[in-house]
Amino acid sequence: MNFQAPVIQYSELLPILIVLGGALLGVLVEAFLPRDRRYVAQVAISLVSIVAAFAAVVRLHGTSTIAAEGSVVVDGVTLFLQGTLLLLALGGVLLIAERRLDSEGGAFTAQASALPGSEAERTALATGIVQTEVFPLTLFALGGALLFPAAGDLVTMFVALEVLSLPLYLMSGLARRRRLLSQEAALKYFLLGAFSSAFFLYGAALIYGYAHTVSLGGIRTAISTSAGNDLILLIGVGLIAVGLLFKVSAVPFHAWTPDVYQGAPTPVTAFMAACTKVAAFGAILRLFYVGLGGLRWDWRPMLTGIAIVTMILGALFALTQTDMKRLLAYSSIAHAGFILTGVIAANQSGLQGSLFYLAAYGFTTIGAFAIITLVRDSSGEATHLSQWSGLGRRSPLIASTFAFFLLALAGIPLTSGFVAKFAVFSAAYASGSTALVIVGVLSSAVAAFFYVRVIVLMFFSEPKEDGTTVVIPPVMTSAAITFAAAATLILGVVPGPVLDLAKSAAQFIF
């Protein structure tokens, strides 16, 4: 029996390998470096590996190959999303690394393994040293995110999904303050996430049963040649869709989102909200466009229904929220619906629009959560809406920047959100989904209401003397906010280059 060594195109996989290599290095640092030097080393490793991976993505521009024996597809979509993910992760890591917001040294617990309220926790706090395991965890999650949209078969996709998710479950539980809430969020996320992974896996197994292959190209061929009973395929598609729609928090698989967004440390929420959405939509696009492209008459009605309820319920629930992080969580649900309208278009402009939307949404989200870390009271971040009243008087610049992000999320012209909405809605209309566009426009109107409500609160309400202060952003947070605001403005005023990039990238190979 001959054994054929697999051919791995290492240079095409370089972005993923750099990030995962950085993560492993981070584990070694955590094991061997003295405690007081770990922070600097971890931040340096994280930033350097992200920048290096981005450079590798830029170098690969224009590549389209199927690498690693068909498991990884490096094409325009992969590279566009990987570049976006790395830029977003750069902002996320800057927020995670920030330790100057309060005197206690950052958003993360000193020792995650110490039980809340226990002697071990007090000892850990007394030493004043904070563990730094969050950095390698971030890099692992990012590595999974980079692989997710590039996966060429269902098994790789599942592995990427788990590599992305498992570190995130842990990271959600690392908050320094309100640790029980944070751990509850982590557990909830883990249980529901594990459940949805099981759905994904079962769906993948059924599709394998139908197509006798897990490769997306193979599934495509099987669907186009088959004339038999498709029931097993359709059930498989439904189940696998549950797993993926869970990750992008589409209704009715959204229930974890508000709790996890609220409980997780805000820098982690920022990273997770931006990167998970991009990666998971990347996987959705590849699965539905490549693997199930021939089945679009079956999955389009299903996704249309989901997009409609997601947009409507996301916007309506957001109206009733009183916590800033929960509000942004519901807004992220509504945005999942908007992005789905681009996916449903199932044409090149839908793909282009979705890619652009993901980039635009990601940057704005990072910026919005970054600002949430700045508004604080004596017990940490002040996320209750009432604590934000009169913010425009106290610190006009921060409040204006936040208002700008909110306007972008609402889709007001001259912000990235508007161009993004235009792109996905026009693609959806061109594909004949007029109803979807109308629902989208109406839910945008509802969504605008709650974004405006926050702006009203910040600018037109009297500030309360309840001890809420706005921290002047330290270097790293300022860098992240500036970066996000610049991206939101540029993608809104001169979106041409990025749209063109998305257009040239909007071509799957299989």
């Binding site: 001259l414 809605f425 063109d500």
Partner: protein, 503 residues
């Protein structure tokens, strides 16, 4: 060719940034700088007239540059006679409002310089929204305008300012989003029919729609404009916004911004969707007539001066939409002239009312009385402004109202006859207002009100002069407007009914 319109749009924007960047506490300098910038814009807009030819109804002073080429979106500006008049209205009223609002920003939520920076920013957007010839660009300005107005009302207005600002914003956003759906559809249809997507309004007039699609798209645009204008029953935000805003903001809001609605009907609804426009005409004529009568009746019943003026505007906007949808050249020329005249007479009313209110610290009509004796100059100017609002012959509004009614009568005699009743009601609400505030015995609390200051006289004099001048000699404006109206009628494919009538 010199980029007149871009220059005109950029000057206030640069001025706005300069005002905003002034150090804290330099309020006087901020006001002077804002006034200087707005006067410079006015000068540029007058110089721009040298490049405009009155013998054609097509777009002039055009500029066009690619903006977002993937979607076929261009930065394209240009004006025909109608748009030119609107741009001029904005540039003339801006310095007047700045001068008239000199001391209005003192008790706002934000600094004085913010108020003037927002006003200048608004001027940029007003120039942009009237001169855009790319539907997408128009939409961008249409929405962007909301933000400075929202902050102007919400931060510097009266008691109900937050509520009014939010109501204004939500109504406008809702309308804007309906329009966005229609814009998206236009984009897709233009891509299908013309090969490449375009938003150029001239190119878009060549599209062919199915009757049903055309009606939906027309409604998408029309409802947005009807909210803006505002036409009954989409008007409820206006009285709140106008009475909560500072008088200066109210002038720009009612005098210029709301004209985007009627201007949009003339520029977008009619040429892009002529079939649907004809289909909906009877309905819109009915709504217009209701607006005329309803606005006037409610104006009579108001106890608050600013709300009263706001309701008179609803009545006047009814006349304007009536003129536009009568689909006759007199009607549309009259409507355009009305937009200009209404801008000036409302400006005069709001400014003087604002000065009265700030002197008396009350906007309730019954708190005033006998001002004629205490403050004769203020009383006389208010009287003149009121006469213009009721369209007395010799005042500019008379010409436009007459043209609208004549233009309407040839096609819809019944509508013209009912609307004429609006004139009588107008006389009633104006004269009642004048009588209660200016005549009769001087009521308590009004004995020592100071008359207009030199600054206020300087601000109001040009407005009164324009009102009277245009009342006797509207020809310059009609000369500019008529070719454009003829062009619009030709694009829509309607001709005036035979003058002999006798149907």
């Amino acid at each position: 060719m010199f980029p007149w319109l871009t220059t005109l749009g950029l000057i206030p924007l640069v001025g706005s940034a300069a005002v905003a960047l002034l150090p804290k506490g330099r309020d006087l300098l901020a006001k002077q700088l804002a006034l200087g910038v707005s006067l410079l814009s006015l000068l540029i807009s007058l110089l721009m007239l040298t490049g405009f030819k009155t013998n054609t109804g097509t777009l002039q002073l055009v500029e066009s540059h690619d903006w977002i080429s993937t979607f076929g979106i261009k930065y394209a500006v240009g004006v025909d006679g109608i748009a030119l008049m609107m741009v001029l209205l904005a540039t003339i009223l801006a310095p007047i409002v700045i001068l008239g609002s000199w001391n209005e920003a003192e008790n706002g939520r934000f600094s004085v310089k913010t108020f003037f920076a927002l006003l200048l920013m608004l001027e940029t957007f007003m120039v942009g929204v009237f001169s855009a010839t790319d539907v997408f660009l128009f939409y961008v300005f249409f929405e962007a305008m909301l933000i400075p107005v929202y902050f102007l009302i919400g931060s510097f207005g009266g008691a109900q300012r937050s509520y009014a600002a939010v109501k204004f914003l939500l109504y406008s956003l809702f309308g804007g989003l309906l329009m966005l759906a229609a814009v998206i559809a236009l984009y897709v249809i233009s891509k299908d029919q013309l090969g490449a997507p375009t938003f150029d309004i001239t190119a878009l007039t060549k599209l062919h729609f199915g009757a049903l699609t055309e009606r939906w798209l027309f409604l998408g645009f029309f409802i947005a404009f009807a909210i803006k204008a505002p036409l009954w029953p989409f008007h409820t935000w206006l009285p709140d916004a106008a009475s909560a805003a500072t008088p200066g903001t109210a002038v720009l809001l009612v005098g210029v911004l709301d004209k985007v609605g009627t201007f949009g009907m003339l520029r977008y609804c009619l040429p892009l969707f002529p079939g649907a426009a004809k289909y909906f005409t009877p309905l819109i004529i009915v709504l217009s007539v209701i607006s005329v009568v309803y606005g006037a009746l409610l104006a009579i019943g108001q106890t608050d001066i600013k709300r009263l003026i706001a309701f008179t505007s609803i009545s006047h906007f009814g006349f304007i939409t009536l003129g536009i949808f009568a689909m006759t050249s007199q009607g549309q020329s009259g409507a355009t002239l009305y937009m200009v005249n209404h801008g000036f007479s409302t400006a005069a009313l709001f400014l003087i009312a604002g000065w009265m209110i700030s002197r008396r610290n009350s906007s309730t009509i019954s708190d005033f009385g006998g001002l004629q004796r205490v403050t004769p100059v203020m009383a006389w100017t208010f009287f003149l402004a009121g006469l213009s609002a009721l369209a007395l012959p010799g005042m500019s509004s008379f010409v436009s109202e007459f043209l609208v009614l004549v233009g309407t009568y040839t096609r819809y005699p019944w509508a013209a006859i009912i609307a004429t009743g609006g004139i009588i009601l107008a006389a009633l609400y104006v004269l009642i207002l004048i009588q209660r505030t200016m005549h009769g015995p001087v009521t308590a609390g009004n004995e020592n009100l100071p008359d207009l200051t030199l600054r206020e006289k300087l601000a109001i004099a040009p407005v009164i002069a324009i009102i009277i001048f245009l009342g006797f000699y509207p020809k310059p404006i009609l000369d500019v407007v008529n070719p454009s109206v003829a062009h619009t009628m030709q694009v829509v494919g309607v001709t005036d009914p035979a003058p002999t009538g006798g149907k």
